[in-house]
Symmetry: C2
């Protein structure tokens, strides 16, 4: 049976691309128009697994998605990095002078802002999804409108790419996580990365102490993010990603951190997708 993969967006979006590259072509796609809807589909069992953007080399973490994983007790069972290339697409025959508005996801608009400074006659308008913006132009045969989306979306919805790779920062890598309601089934010797969450009191040196333990246990930090714990002044939650060579090292750190930190939780243990 094929995996039923929930994605944020519709076919042709970047989540779809990740789903195809991670799981192969034989997947059933469950299109969701928000991250909340995506989590709902997995929790209710309408999808067996979901692909979820989690951080971006430009805009940083998508904090609400960390909160969604945490509060729904989902497990991160894998990760995938995608270099995101944005393209300006229009109905065939239209030129950039014809275009008065460009629709896309707010993140895509943000990443391509510089490009549009040369075209002050074009208004940038927020849409729910990159691929959906492309689809609407195609379906309604909208003249004067463009979309920023993937080259896959251009093919799928038969639009013409006027300019490709228009994002300001060319090396635009986004990290996606693969989440399920059940934990990983990977053999321990294949696990070399983990996502952790814990809370600490606002006491001088409390985070340094925890990081010392991680360092002593030979864990490398690849990400750290503090968030105040709502309704508990001076309490902070930390989201941390670590990589390691030996699972035994990680296991030892987990035993220590369970004692040292409050509400210590493994959000997922998986294989590092970076070389």
């Amino acid at each position: 049976m094929n995996e039923k993969v929930a994605i944020q967006g519709i076919k042709g979006c970047f989540h779809h691309k990740v789903a195809l590259e991670y799981f192969g072509e034989n997947v059933d796609i469950v299109e969701c128009l928000s991250f909340d809807a995506l989590v709902d589909e997995v929790v209710k069992g309408n999808a067996t697994i979901a692909v979820m953007a989690i951080e971006n080399s430009i805009a940083g973490s998508i904090i609400p998605n960390y909160a969604l994983i945490d509060s729904n007790n989902l497990h991160v069972i894998g990760e995938y990095f995608l270099n995101i290339s944005h393209n300006l697409m229009v109905l065939p025959g239209q030129t950039i002078e014809d275009i008065t508005e460009v629709h896309s996801h707010p993140m895509a608009l943000l990443q391509c802002k510089e490009f549009f400074k040369k075209y002050p006659h074009i208004r940038l308008i927020e849409a729910a999804d990159t691929a959906e913006a492309a689809k609407i132009i195609s379906e309604k045969q909208l003249k004067g409108a463009g979309a920023i989306a993937s080259s896959t979306a251009a093919e799928l919805y038969e639009l013409e790419v006027l300019n490709s790779d228009i994002q300001t920062i060319k090396d635009n890598s986004t990290r996606f996580v693969i989440v399920k309601t059940q934990n990983s089934v990977l053999p321990k010797d294949q696990i070399n990365k983990a996502s952790l969450k814990f809370e600490l009191d606002h006491k001088r040196g409390s985070l340094a102490t925890v990081l010392n333990v991680m360092s002593d246990c030979r864990l490398n930090l690849t990400k750290i993010q503090s968030l105040p714990v709502i309704e508990t002044p001076w309490k902070y939650a930390f989201f941390v990603n670590v990589t390691f060579d030996a699972y035994a090292d990680f296991d030892k750190a987990v035993k220590l951190l369970t004692i040292m930190a409050d509400k210590f939780k493994i959000l997922g243990e998986y294989k590092n997708a970076r070389k």
Copy 2:
């Protein structure tokens, strides 16, 4: 001469509220429809100072704003915490049954999502600004449409508040920073908080070492955030906020960190606005 204060949004928005509470009623407001525009106004000297939302107890840091402060060499000279209360407002006489769409800033829509689950007939539509959404309804006398905005916006644009305090998490504190092109003029004995940025190689224990120094120098961390340095694999930038009792302690830490970390930079030193 009055301060010319750049705000993100139009009069009646939360930035406006912060400007009035921080500087008093006698300020000239420069309305900006994006954070980029706001930074431009300050850099060009059209505004003497700006108010900028920087983090939120729900959604976390607004990373692009850290990048804007950093890349434009702005100085954080103060901070302000505002408890944000969202209200659903409509033209006088309209009821919730009449409303088919609600417009607001994406962050406000996110924070009030739970409330609207009871009203599935209402579509949530993203707008550039909370107050602007209110203003448009008022100016165009739009029936069937609501806005989520501050009570100030309701008064200013003569709308009726149907429901107040509709955000899911009632204690919705947002931290704003006050930024200028010149550094702080505060006497050193009034400075007890700072925002720092530095870079570290991805080497085991490098962050722990830095945090140990901060802890030894009696600095308390109130925020930490890592970001991969774009185009430099395995290099990480850290944005850190610290509080301290004695400026001399901070000064000592700065001297050490300048040697230990790459591209160490003080984004601002100012007075802690939290008790």
